[in-house]
């Protein structure tokens, strides 16, 4: 990916009310601004026109198969972590038309769709989510082939990261080296500084684009105390992390394709595909070829798919992965192990979504640990 993130501009402070100026400036530059919104009792990523629409004062409570929003004790704008949405729904839409073809005599002609989507600005991107984007960058430009629509959307996107203050109980980014502090891959990165005296954001520029935008917003310089306070937020978040992924899980799973745990987890797994739909890196898709009633126009649509469906592995004669055991093994082994072989990175960023949104609360860290513990030793 051609986007490079680096900037030497010093961090500055933005007041809580300058967030509107940030949104306005991005909108003025032609971006469609997307940010966290409270919808359907969850924090989702939706178009954001006003800073007042941010979920002020809400905190999330997450556990295996459990998600609740509660009123927090302070009017913070970002005191929750990630919800059921991820930014992939904008960079890699759940359903998109790849092309359309029209009959011409006995033949037909393909016309590419006009992609006139405005560039996106994402506000409130967490460190794990930046890592997820970088993982998908490797998927959709694999050296041999590239997805031009994805690359365009990705390169155009303006990323405003937010450092997490309070990880959910389902988070395990520290053990995946993907957070909680955003270190690169953003245009701007904000840390919310909120106490009795002030409600401000410490903002670092991560790109020239970000630095240039900062100069247009009302801001104040930072002092040592601000930097210390921001650092303390990240440190506290890191220390509050409750879950962790088993070390060396990639090699571990390679050793155990026939482990009895796969059968055991299959007793609980509903094969519902929720984990793959909320995962910010899962990229599998299927295509749907359709015609209109006259048969004159055909379209191809690409839509998210899941390795948990029976159809996913269908070839003439039947599906390869008929049992839930095989499908769960495929998903988890791919995510944590064979992903390294394919893309030189884990497919997991420790965001915990698959744990929270699993209707029966299956915990990927727990499954990995069970297999590790079965080997004995320390």
């Amino acid at each position: 990916m051609a986007t490079h993130y680096s900037s030497s501009a010093p961090p500055v402070r933005l007041g809580r009310h300058s967030l509107q100026a940030l949104i306005d400036a991005l909108r003025g530059d032609g971006y469609t601004v997307i940010g966290p919104r409270l919808e359907d009792a969850a924090i989702v990523y939706a178009p954001l026109e006003s800073a007042d629409s941010l979920p002020e004062g809400w905190v999330d409570q997450q556990e295996g198969g459990h998600y609740r929003l509660l009123r927090g004790e302070r009017p913070a704008l970002f005191d929750y972590v990630v919800g059921p949405h991820s930014w992939k729904r904008y960079l890699y839409p759940p359903r998109q038309r790849l092309w359309q073809a029209h009959k011409q005599g006995k033949g037909w002609r393909v016309k590419e769709p006009l992609d006139n989507t405005a560039p996106y600005a994402f506000i409130g991107v967490r460190s794990c989510e930046i890592h997820a984007m970088r993982i998908q960058d490797r998927v959709f430009d694999n050296g041999a082939f590239a997805d031009p629509a994805y690359i365009k959307r990705r390169q155009q996107a303006f990323i405003v990261a937010v450092n997490c203050a309070h990880p959910a109980a389902t988070c395990f980014c520290t053990s995946m080296n993907s957070g909680p502090r955003a270190k690169e891959g953003f245009d701007l990165c904000m840390t919310e500084l909120l106490d009795e005296q002030r409600h401000e954001f410490l903002v670092e520029a991560g790109s020239d684009k970000g630095a240039a935008l900062l100069t247009r917003l009302p801001h104040r310089p930072c002092d040592e105390n601000d930097l210390r306070q921001a650092e303390a937020v990240a440190t506290a978040a890191s220390q509050a992390m409750q879950r962790e992924m088993a070390p060396d899980v990639a090699a571990l799973l390679k050793r155990h394709p026939e482990h009895p745990r796969w059968q055991e987890v299959a007793q609980r797994c509903l094969s519902c595909a929720n984990c793959t739909q909320v995962c910010p890196t899962c990229f599998c898709s299927t295509v749907e070829d359709v015609t209109d009633l006259s048969g004159q126009t055909a379209q191809r649509w690409r839509q998210w798919d899941s390795c948990f469906t029976l159809d996913f592995s269908y070839i003439h004669g039947g599906s390869i992965r008929r049992e839930t055991r095989s499908r769960y093994r495929q998903w988890m082994t791919h995510k944590l192990s064979t992903w390294h072989d394919q893309f030189d990175t884990s497919g997991c960023v420790g965001c915990g979504r698959c744990i929270t949104w699993c209707p029966v609360g299956i915990d990927i860290t727990e499954e990995a640990k069970a297999i590790r513990d079965s080997e004995g030793g320390t």
Binding site: L98, W99, A101, K103, K106, G107, W108, R109, V110, E112, V139, F140, N142, G143, A144, F145, A146, D147, P148, P257, E258, F283, C284, S285, T286, V287, D289, V290, T291, G295, A298, R300, R302, D305, C307, F312, S313, Y314, I315, H316, G317, I320, R321, R322, E323, R325, S326, Q330, H334, T338, D341, Q342
Partner: protein, 278 residues
């Protein structure tokens, strides 16, 4: 890197000729609708073949790699898309994306004996390799083709098999799983031909394509005869939607069959091949 601005966009090809091969199998000769698009392929590679509005399927190229036109695909009508393709005729148009995937080791096998093991329609992906080897016959040692079909009525490329059987520089043996009265050839699975074949295991490169169960037993027999896994190549089949590593459907352990395969040297995948439902 990217050889097509949009690798998901099919190129229209017109059907120049349809040949009925078997009750459920047919061959399409295709020419580019714009008259100029050309597609160089290597033996073992495949295309995604698209039926207007109906869907797209991965199909190996079954023609001669030395000839860029027409493009030849042999298709067995087993699903909704391939059955609808069977109804197409001369002048109709299909879409082509490709070629994709890895190739049979026709270069690496130079200087070696070649044992080609095919089952059913698995002969189609191997035919380009056979064409190449016969066109460069002096570069190879002994060449053997062992082919198994279900019944005499299911023998693909019958006239070419007869022609190849008549050559003095190639051994061709055909067997069927079951036959009625007139069949004077061999009956039994293709593995039996491998057990008896007088090839030299040390000198052999084996190319195997057919149903997975047939490949499993063929490899076992080759191993028993002393042909090691790094001398054996197989072509794998998996569900594919994109053929470019994006859709995830064809994953086989760490591999994407679409771009790391379909042809694998067997030692690459031996440990995966024995896992059920991988």
């Amino acid at each position: 890197m990217t050889h097509n601005a949009d690798p998901m966009r099919p190129i229209p090809y017109r059907i120049h000729r349809v040949r009925s091969e078997l009750a459920d199998t047919f061959t399409l000769d295709l020419v580019p609708e714009d008259g100029v698009h050309s597609l160089n392929f290597a033996p073992g590679q495949f295309n995604m073949v698209y039926l207007f509005g109906g869907g797209e399927v991965p199909i190996s190229i079954s023609g001669d790699p030395a000839r860029t036109a027409p493009l030849v695909h042999t298709i067995r009508a087993v699903g909704p898309v391939t059955r609808a393709m069977k109804a197409l005729g001369r002048g109709d148009t299909v879409g082509i994306r490709g070629p994709f995937g890895t190739t049979w080791p026709v270069i690496e096998a130079e200087g070696s004996d070649v044992v080609i093991v095919a089952g059913g329609v698995g002969l189609a992906p191997l035919r380009p390799a056979i064409y190449h080897i016969l066109a460069n016959r002096e570069k190879y040692g002994d060449v053997r083709l062992y082919y198994g079909a279900r019944t005499p009525d299911d023998i693909l490329f019958l006239s070419e098999l007869r022609e190849w059987r008549g050559r003095f520089d190639m051994i061709v043996e055909v067997t069927v799983d079951s036959a009625r009265g007139y069949w004077a050839g061999r009956v039994g699975v293709v593995t039996h031909l491998l057990e008896r074949g007088r090839y030299d295991p040390e000198e052999t490169v084996a190319l195997v394509c057919g149903p997975e169960i047939m490949m499993r037993f063929a490899i076992k027999t080759l191993n028993q005869r002393g042909v090691d896994n790094d001398q054996i190549y197989v072509s794998m089949e998996r569900n594919m939607k994109c053929a470019i590593g994006f859709c995830g459907h064809c994953q086989f352990g760490p591999y994407f069959v679409c771009k790391d395969g379909p042809v694998f040297r067997f030692d690459q995948i031996a440990s995966l091949f024995s896992l059920r439902e991988l």
